[in-house]
Subunit: 479 residues, 2 copies
Amino acid sequence: MKEFQYITIADELGKLINEGVYPVGQKLPSLRLISSRFQVSIGTVLKAFVLLIDKGLILGRERSGYVVLRKSRPDIDLPESSKTISAATEVRLGPVLHQISREAQAHTSFVSFFNAVLDVGLLPLNAIRRSLQQASRDLTGAHLLYEQANGNPLLRQEIAGRSFRWNGALKAEEVVITNGALEAVSLCLRAVAEKGDTIVLETPFYYGILQTIEALGLKIVELPGDTLSGIDLDQLEQVCKEHRVAACVLISNFNNPNGAMLSDQKKRDIAAFAKRKKIPVIDDDIYGDLHFDTERPANIKSYDTDGWVMLCASFSKSVAPGYRIGWCAPGRFTEKVIRLKAVTNVATASVVQLSLLQLLNTGAYDRHLRRLRPELHKLMLLTLQAIAAHFPLETKVSRPKGGLVLWIELPKGVDALVLHQKAIAEHIQIAPGTLFSNRGDYTNYIRMSYSNLWSKRIEQAIQKLGKMIKDQVIEGSKS
Amino acid sequence: MKEFQYITIADELGKLINEGVYPVGQKLPSLRLISSRFQVSIGTVLKAFVLLIDKGLILGRERSGYVVLRKSRPDIDLPESSKTISAATEVRLGPVLHQISREAQAHTSFVSFFNAVLDVGLLPLNAIRRSLQQASRDLTGAHLLYEQANGNPLLRQEIAGRSFRWNGALKAEEVVITNGALEAVSLCLRAVAEKGDTIVLETPFYYGILQTIEALGLKIVELPGDTLSGIDLDQLEQVCKEHRVAACVLISNFNNPNGAMLSDQKKRDIAAFAKRKKIPVIDDDIYGDLHFDTERPANIKSYDTDGWVMLCASFSKSVAPGYRIGWCAPGRFTEKVIRLKAVTNVATASVVQLSLLQLLNTGAYDRHLRRLRPELHKLMLLTLQAIAAHFPLETKVSRPKGGLVLWIELPKGVDALVLHQKAIAEHIQIAPGTLFSNRGDYTNYIRMSYSNLWSKRIEQAIQKLGKMIKDQVIEGSKS
């Protein structure tokens, strides 16, 4: 899509700077020349220049052109995941996570890289207000009665109609509206697994779902997940031979935390595997709408032919977390999920569904996403750049193609929990890597969200974090 | 309260008519005379007369006074409950309930006595619209982020502040906001019981909670619950000696379906029992605000001194089912319930909490309740009267002091499931008694809600039901 072209242009120019084509101090070619070489508008080149200025690579001088300030650093390596398949183990996350979540909630004035949640300034507040006002006008007595357990039929129709965007073909009756994606995952798990059953998932993995699994008394097997490409299918086959596996939980796009994205071929293979082995695959595609490439990626459900894939998604990440509207398409388990929803909390609040329906069918949601995606991409690049500038050289960082978080491997010996404590003292919040595994892995990893609006304060916080990490490295080498 | 006086007056006059003080055809004393005898205003007497007209006992002739039409029937007996304590059994409700719930949802044009839900005409639609509009104006970006897992602090404060109405003394931090009371009960159960554990409850009991218990894989022991006074404490003691009981679930006020209300002494004794035996008691006081007497009744939590009572409540029954706002005060299990809430669906939708907060702190909720309660009382009396007029003489009916439903014991041999089928054919919905037990009891019982606005259509539906029941009795006596 055109709106992303400027990023490509900026990347190209960045490469030319790195390769020495435009050495430090040199003026870049004129806007006009670059626009004609790349066959794009002058406006697009200007946006690319702004990005390069933001990255600190060039300096813009009004009327006198753009000058190269410095080369970007050499490419940063990708973090590595655990290499081994874990045993089937009960999930025991311990008190650290609760303590950190509490801190995150208590210290709202801190600079927070902890939550994977959009900055308030990125939320479509006015559109939401308008949708609520419209909902209050549209409200009839009937809306105040219990909504159907599977959700407002018009909202389900709207969500089903949008499935063509990920090459799906859902019907309204296949969709179940839930209180957020976590409830969707929880209901899907309860539909296919009982206390003591074994679930397969990848490592590193989102702690929120680990907590849900812990609360349901399920065991997990952690499969190594590559930072770029996710799990390995042969390993999945192997695990399912060795264990009676009740279900797999996977994040097909932009795995939280490491940003891994399954290839289309792998998505297809996993859907085929689920059907062949009759093992339900829960696909948590909560970040799919927040892609940086031009096209919305497919998910595992896109290739589901027999109802063994249970898709879970949400509007919490893209519109407003407080709305608590998620949904799932649980395939052959739809009836069971609806029954569980009905006996757990009857239905999702009707008014919020009405308001979201407004946002979707007036086009406000799509307009919001079109603005949001390039903004998030820019924020990711800026954060990556700042980390590259301020963290030790050995730092490895993920390069997600969507979502809200970076996964960062710090030099060996850095204790992310100690770093977290020191950061809290400086009013900065990060997510220590140990939260993302059930076996104490990732002690020198952290997850940082890039969903805060960019500011000096954010950059300074990253600089401070870099200083703390370097201090830990030095202390470590002394002892 | 003054607004209920007219019902007392109507009852008194009804008694005088029954005793023959005012025989059929006789004129009643003048408004003025009655108002001076009972020391009430003429307006109150007039309202009492309207009620007697509604009941069909008197006929009002403008300017010529009020004439007795007929005596009311002799007092109707109360339905009887199962007499025995059940074994500890897994809950298996079977497919009938799902089918009936589906029918109730599909046939919204039918005359429905099935759902214990207020008629749309009794909901405060305009106040809710205003509260939503105000909420959309008050909405800030911060409200769009995740609400605290235990709920909006101001709403919790408001709910806690209202606890003095039932002689409680809750603090905001003891309250957890949930998606309706059923979620509250479900979270409380999960906090104190695991799959396979045994729960004690009374019989007959609300099928919705039975379904929740079934989904959680818990066993139940059903204790006989008297139609007036609920469970027997000695039997509760006995059961807790014979079984390892994980929790009791009780409805302290207006048990659904039989309307039983625990005495204050029994509430106190149960709270003391919970503390002494260290057995959590979940008190589902969802109907407590819908009392017909002047005072809001206490609940078991009112007498809780040590945190063993977990109170659950909701605004679904009194404001709008579609709002899905319930809450609980889980005593010593509060932290655990908050954690379970967080890992089940993070938090309850913030916007709906804001809107409800508006309804509460502007006084709109209390104004609504003041209008609603006498209206519901009248509807209960009218429904009781119509049942007395049209059902067979042997019919026994509960006499609830609040809530939304009547519990009706039909003559022996009447099959309520057959009646339900025949009623559906006539576009009438009732709740067959077997839904309210796990052991197939109550085959000749039905539950009927009286929360529909009164109309000829409603009365005719009751008449038709009466005809169907009488037909079944005659058929039964033939065979």
